[in-house]
Amino acid sequence: MQSLAADLELAAVTKAYGDTTAVDRVSLKIPAGTYCCLLGPSGCGKSSTLRMIAGHEFISDGDVMIGNTIVNDLPPAKRGTAMMFQNYALFPHLSVRENVAFSLKMAGTPKAERLSRAEEMLSLVDMGRYGDRLPAQLSGGQQQRVALARALVTNPTVLLLDEPLSALDPFLRIRMRAELKRYQRDFGISFIHVTHSQEEAMALADMVVVMNDGRIEQVGSPREIFNQPKTRFVAQFMGGHNVVSDAGRAYAVRADKVRLLGTVSSDETSSQRATVTDVEYQGMTVHVAMRRSDGTDLLATLAEHEFDRAPVSVGDEVQVGWHASDRHELAA
């Protein structure tokens, strides 16, 4: 079995269920060894895209290529992909070791060999001591490591992860996030990770693919996506952005670039005048929500000391502004 990383390419991949199109001509190239996050709200087609790459969903139109092979009609095991399921889908009747050895057993590997290989994978994910346990006897994080070992035991070229962290509590989620990134680096293969959390995508990905309504909105590094959102949707979905329209054009302004210029008297008529609608203390920062006189909602994220210099409270009239270089024009 090949263990080399391979490029993955989607060419106008489409998934239609009757009249509804879940994925609409998605084209994407993921170089070998990339941590790629498919990011979007639920129902945006990110899971369908992943399942088509995995071979768990038939492709209505277009092609999926792994390396130099078109894999449209190949079953998952023949594609060199492996999938890690949202709830891990560990076989409840098999021990941890047998779970990891499952795909080797299916391929007809002799018992001694597959069990020692499983043992090897388990120690790689720090689960060597738990080989005899049943999945139900493990914690969420441990189950995830076993699921990872089970997926990686076949030396896949691409690992597909369907919302792998959503079943964990927040603290464990951050720890497992770091582990996933580490395994991706160690194995050097591509991880394609579906998530609806922009925070998760930014922390993990080399390449973020923001999807909406069955289409790709933007592809880029986390920095590109966050600092240069192409569309209103991306700016709003990534969060931390104000979308404002001036003279018929839409702009994104990062919330931490918005400045409060002090309270103003009510007779001053400025388009940049706003009323404070909410103040949230967040620890290191303070979120100040405002409504501009033209009805646009604005959010400013201020460092605590910055806020303390000129504190505002709900109902105050303030003057807001930002540098022209800090606003970023949106395509739509």
């Binding site: 995995a54 999938m83 399921f85 409840p92």
Partner: protein
């Protein structure tokens, strides 16, 4: 097993609780429902069980040791009824004694009916659980499976007669189609007819628990198996069958115990020519030989209980439920 483990813990905890309660000076309430309500809810079923199941069973057990003659039944404690049941069984003769022969005949039906209902039941349940996608359709098809149960057992058996009889529908059709010259004799009042009727009657007892087990299998497990390169058959043997084992076991217990004690179906469909344990007991009751009938009933009960015990050894049902 769990009892013995928990017992010391309970023993350790109880005095502590008592001390705390004593310190508080009163018993702490643990629920808004008065305790007697729970007992009241269980009482009707417990009463029915006691009056109509436990008491008769105890009576049967006692009577099985009584003495009887052609004209009387006397309270006593003799084991002659049991030695009569097994008369000639352990004498070392080459021919089987009546009791063993009867049990062997019953065992044959149990084996045939169990294998057939398991095969059909598993297939039907698999179809319902994995191929029918929508819940309303599953419910509809499930209801169709239960249609035979809308009529009585006896009527369902009798309705086989016009179909399978010497001049029944099957024979008429085969003769007029020129496939056979003379009607097939073994269609009715035969082992075949008995097995057919039993399978028809009891397949649903296999379908229901297996279907229930299958519906509880997480669909992502099947995908995970497919992802791991398992073929359809490998998924069946490595994932689905191990996970529906409890369902198979429960269905098997239903079918095996019912068929072991059945004498109505064997009587009607076998034309009263095929022996069964139930039939033996019924005959003895007709001759008012209650003590030996009771002894036979106790032996039958013991055989059924042993069978269930053996089957439970195969699958740890407590773990699976």
């Amino acid at each position: 097993m769990t009892k013995t483990l928990e017992a010391p813990a309970d023993a350790g905890a109880a005095p502590q609780d008592k001390r705390r309660d004593a310190a508080a000076g009163r018993v702490r309430r643990t629920s808004w429902t008065p305790r007697w309500v729970a007992y009241a809810q269980a009482a009707p079923m417990a009463l029915v069980f006691l009056l109509f199941f436990v008491l008769p069973l105890v009576a049967t057990f006692i009577v099985s040791f009584w003495n009887y003659t052609e004209y009387s039944i006397e309270p006593a404690f003799v084991t002659t009824n049991y030695t009569d049941v097994f008369y000639g069984c352990f004498s070392g003769g080459s021919a089987l004694c009546t009791t063993f022969a009867t049990y062997l005949s019953t065992l044959k039906f149990v084996a045939i009916v169990w294998a057939a209902t398991l095969g059909i039941g598993f297939t039907v349940a698999y179809f319902l659980a994995f191929h029918v996608r929508t819940l309303p359709m599953q419910i509809t098809l499930f209801m169709i499976c239960t249609i035979p149960f809308w009529t009585s057992n006896v009527i369902r058996m009798i309705s086989w007669i016009p179909l399978l009889g010497r001049n029944g529908l099957v024979n008429e059709t085969l003769v007029s189609a020129g496939l056979i010259d003379t009607p097939i004799e073994w269609l009715l009042y035969s082992d075949f007819a008995v097995a057919l009727a039993l399978i028809h009657l009891y397949t649903l007892f296999m379908v229901v628990p297996i279907f229930n087990s299958m519906m509880r299998i997480d669909r992502s497990l099947i995908e995970a198996a497919y992802d791991g390169g398992a073929s359809g058959f490998q998924t069946l043997t490595n994932v689905i069958i191990p996970l529906v084992k409890p369902g198979i076991l429960i269905g098997s217990i239903f079918v095996v115990t019912i068929v072991t004690g059945d004498y109505l179906t064997i009587g009607i469909m076998g034309g009263q020519q095929i022996a069964s344990v139930g039939k033996v007991i019924q005959t003895q009751i007709n001759f008012l030989q209650f003590p030996i009938a009771a002894a036979n009933a106790i032996v039958l009960l013991a055989v059924v209980l042993l069978t269930i015990w053996g089957m439970l050894r195969l699958v740890d049902i407590r773990k699976e439920l």
